[in-house]
């Protein structure tokens, strides 16, 4: 015989033994007591196996060297460390028809399905395919020896049979208790059960210290024994059927048969998973939770590992006795087995965070990367204030490759854009551009960006990094809705973009080969080579300084970035990250959609009525803006300044103690030597002085910096 280690001591097992049988062979209960079914129905044999808790030892074959540890007495086991939650592979499979259970009814169902021409897959825990959940799809999740399988089926037949009932009487947590089939299995393995008593509904109580020593019956007799075998009837093994009420599941065989409820339990542990007693149920019933689902939720009966597989009949009998009505079974929840985190995560992925073509350059420059708008982006390169001063006083590069970018072309393109945007489009000349808001039908700000006219019938559009995907759907949906002839091509991930910004940006552009004649003026754009890389050069400004956005094919990003950094070295160039950028734009009062706006922010609320032309015949959101224009509106975004450190974004804004809004953007301005911020006031009258973090903050006109915009145009 070989040996496994059980609670620190080696025990012998026979070939083919489960771990539970090995424990019984050594005279021990595999857990700490309770009726054993040895069929995987209950949780009375779970233990920590090779570091993984909640393993059903009756379903786990003993192998030499396996280390088993019982769960702690009276509490749950530790979930274990990362080593016990390692990567688990997932396999996707498809089948016309999946039959769960390979007993007689399963075999019959599978044969019938095959005869009908279906591709049939039969799953049975005994064959190493333990179904742990049925989900919409339908998708069946199966634990196997080589990972988790997700099986996509058109139809599911459950042929899972019936489970033998456990007793609910005092003493039912002792060792030495077996269902009839479990006792047969133990005996079949050559394990002596000692003196046995077979009992049914006449059982009143089980006596013993740790292990059973006698049973009391309803006729008042007591019978000494070493083991008790129960003949209490059975219940459908229907957890998987109850798990998927929206999935087409056919239940056949004993799993579908009518089973009489057991007598109402009077005492003892009813839910062996949670060690919840009949007395506990009486307690919640007395508090008024007098319906099956309420009893479940208030007592947590049926929410354990077996999802009511063992306790449901007794629970229904309890509720039927108290209420006079037999309740329907409750819905079961996946998973039907405790899983490791690796199994839970198998086949699932976190969101994809995209990388700019300059990702490695940022890392080489010591950038701290942050996830923002679905991308990895440089937060700073070690000194955000130095990056800020490079923009304000010299020249700096920013990676804006993440911006949404789109080409639209077609005979109806002007008509489409006039309908999509709240400002005029037809009068944008070729080679010129315009800042634009995008509104939804309710007149609320959805995104913002630029419109650049490339030709009479062709434009380039830009959007925010986080809004690009929504913007593409928005544009496409409206074009299809209107039936207008416009082609759309999203360039967000195909084009890189570098922002050259600062008072020396013009000089850097000269050094990169862009002559003064070729350099676009403010809000102009043109195509040309920069440092040998073909670029779409856009003159605009988010930082408040002269800025050139250089859009280009991403295979040129690294060369362009490095060449500009090299050419800018004598000019004091530094790259800047988001931290500096957010401060720079806050000083200019430029909003970030989604940060400074809310879901219902209209242009008026953010002081951007100037970006809306209500004299246009129609645009998305116009009707709502006209409807609400005459209404009083308490909400308004303000600029503030305050002494001392900048408050956290999200800080509460109060007026005379009353909460009126919150801070949306906040920055310790190196230039002004105080905090500049934006935030909401949502109560009338709007105050000139508010309280933030217990300090005074004063309303201030925005932009805080260069209100005439001279520097951006220089």
């Amino acid at each position: 015989m070989s040996r496994v280690v059980y609670d620190g001591a080696p025990i012998e097992y026979a070939q083919g033994d489960s771990l539970a049988l090995a424990a019984l062979r050594s005279g021990q209960h595999p857990a700490r007591g309770g009726t054993l079914c040895l069929a995987g129905d209950c949780g009375n044999c779970v233990a920590i196996v090779d570091g993984t808790p909640w393993v059903r030892t009756c379903q786990t074959t003993a192998r030499a060297g396996t280390v088993v540890k019982r769960h702690p007495n009276g509490s749950h086991p530790s979930p274990g460390g990362a080593e016990h939650h390692a990567h688990v592979a997932v396999r996707h499979r498809s089948a016309d028809h999946v039959v769960i259970g390979s007993g007689d009814s399963g075999v019959t169902a599978a044969a019938a399905a095959r005869a009908a021409g279906d591709d049939v897959l039969v799953l049975d825990a005994g064959d190493g395919n333990e179904v742990i959940g049925v989900f919409d799809g339908p998708t069946i999740v199966v634990r196997t020896t080589d990972g988790v399988h997700q099986i996509h089926a058109h139809h599911i037949t459950l042929a899972t049979g019936a489970a033998e009932l456990h007793p609910v009487v005092p003493g039912n947590t002792l060792a030495g208790l077996y269902t009839a089939k479990a006792a047969a299995a133990v005996r079949g393995a050559g394990i002596d059960l000692g003196r046995t008593v077979t009992v049914g509904a006449e059982l009143v109580a089980i006596r013993g210290e740790g292990t059973v020593s006698s049973v009391e019956l309803a006729d008042g007799t007591t019978h000494e024994c070493d083991s008790v075998i129960f003949d209490l009837g059975s219940a459908p093994r229907d957890v998987l059927a109850r798990m998927a009420p929206m999935v087409p599941v056919t239940v056949v065989g004993p799993a579908a048969a009518a089973h009489a409820l057991p007598p109402c339990p009077k005492a003892g542990v009813l839910c062996s998973c949670g060690k919840i007693t009949v007395e506990d149920l009486d307690g919640v019933w007395a508090k008024g939770f007098q319906e099956l689902e309420l009893v479940k939720r208030s007592s947590l009966v049926g929410v354990g590992t077996c999802q009511g597989g063992m306790c449901m009949p007794h629970l229904r009998a309890f509720v039927a006795d108290r209420s006079g009505t037999v309740p329907e079974p409750f819905t079961a929840r996946p998973a039907a087995r405790q899983l490791t985190l690796g199994e839970v995560a198998a086949g699932y992925h976190i969101d994809t965070f995209r990388r700019s073509p300059l990702h490695q350059e940022h890392l080489a420059l010591g950038a701290t990367l942050d996830k923002f708008g679905g991308w990895f982006r440089p937060w700073n390169y070690g000194d955000a204030v130095a990056e800020y001063w490079a923009v304000r006083e010299a020249v700096s590069l920013g990676d804006v490759s993440t911006l949404g970018k789109m080409i639209v072309s077609g005979p109806d393109v002007v008509e489409v854009l006039e309908r999509l945007y709240p400002n005029h489009v037809h009068d944008i000349k070729v080679g010129r551009s315009r800042y634009v808001l995008i509104l939804n039908e309710r007149g609320h700000i959805l995104d913002d960006g630029m419109i650049l006219r490339d030709a009479e019938d062709r434009f380039t559009l830009t959007f925010t990094s986080g809004g690009a995907s929504t913007a593409e759907m928005w544009v496409r949906d409206w074009i299809e809705t209107w039936g207008l002839r416009v082609h759309v091509l999203d360039r967000t991930v195909s084009h890189g973009a570098i922002n050259v910004t600062g008072p020396l940006a013009v000089e850097l552009m000269r050094r990169a080969g862009v002559s003064d004649d070729d350099r676009p003026k403010f809000l102009q754009h043109r195509r040309g080579e920069v440092a040998g890389i073909p670029c779409h050069i856009m003159r605009l400004s988010f930082t408040g300084e002269a800025s050139f956005e250089l859009h280009h094919q991403i295979d040129g990003s690294v060369a362009l970035w490095n060449e500009l950094m090299e050419l800018g070295r004598p000019l004091g160039i530094k790259p800047h990250g988001l931290q500096a950028l957010f401060g720079l734009r806050t000083e200019k009062g430029h909003i970030i959609v989604g940060q400074d706006t809310e879901l219902d922010s209209s242009p008026r609320r953010v002081n951007m009525d100037w970006a809306v032309k209500l004299d246009k015949p129609w645009f998305v959101g116009r009707d709502a803006l006209l409807r609400t224009a005459a209404l009083p509106d308490e909400r308004r975004l303000f600029g503030f300044t305050m002494e001392g450190p900048a408050p956290y974004e999200g800080s509460v804004i109060r007026v005379r103690g009353e909460v009126v809004g919150h801070v949306t953007s906040s920055w310790d301005s190196p230039l002004f030597g105080k905090a500049v911020l934006m935030g909401w006031q949502k109560r009338l009258p709007h105050a000139d002085v508010v309280e933030i973090d217990g300090r005074e903050a004063h309303v201030s006109p925005v932009p805080f910096y260069d209100p005439e915009g001279a520097r951006a145009r220089s």
Binding site: H92, R354, V493
Partner: protein, 141 residues
Amino acid sequence: MPAAEIVSTLEILRGWRIIADPSALDSATWPATSRVVRISPDDVYVIGSVEPAVPADPYAIITPEMGFAGVGLSPAEVTAIAQEHIEWPLPSMRPALAQGQIAGVPAKLELHVDGSALLLVACAARHELEARIARTLAGCA
């Protein structure tokens, strides 16, 4: 495109992107040395260095496309990728273009008659996809 241009790991592919009326794309003649992937009725991705033309649509958008990375997959690799990383059913017809999430990353599979495929993914997400399918591809080596 010549098979030699498709490398063994996800690399940026040089090509062209054409958005035009479907009928114009149907009647267009593509460069002989290019591989043509019809992404949708109005969207063609031409892998190759020769600029294509679509004379039947004056509003066609024709632009260089460096935004995709690609890798050729053997039939065994296609099977392994499908089993481990694709929740949706692949089309049964060959050749075919399948588009959807692979290991949670939006991607495309150009499925060939011989069971092989060209896996395409946006360059910005190729590192994620590479990391997620590396174990699978290593198992096929």
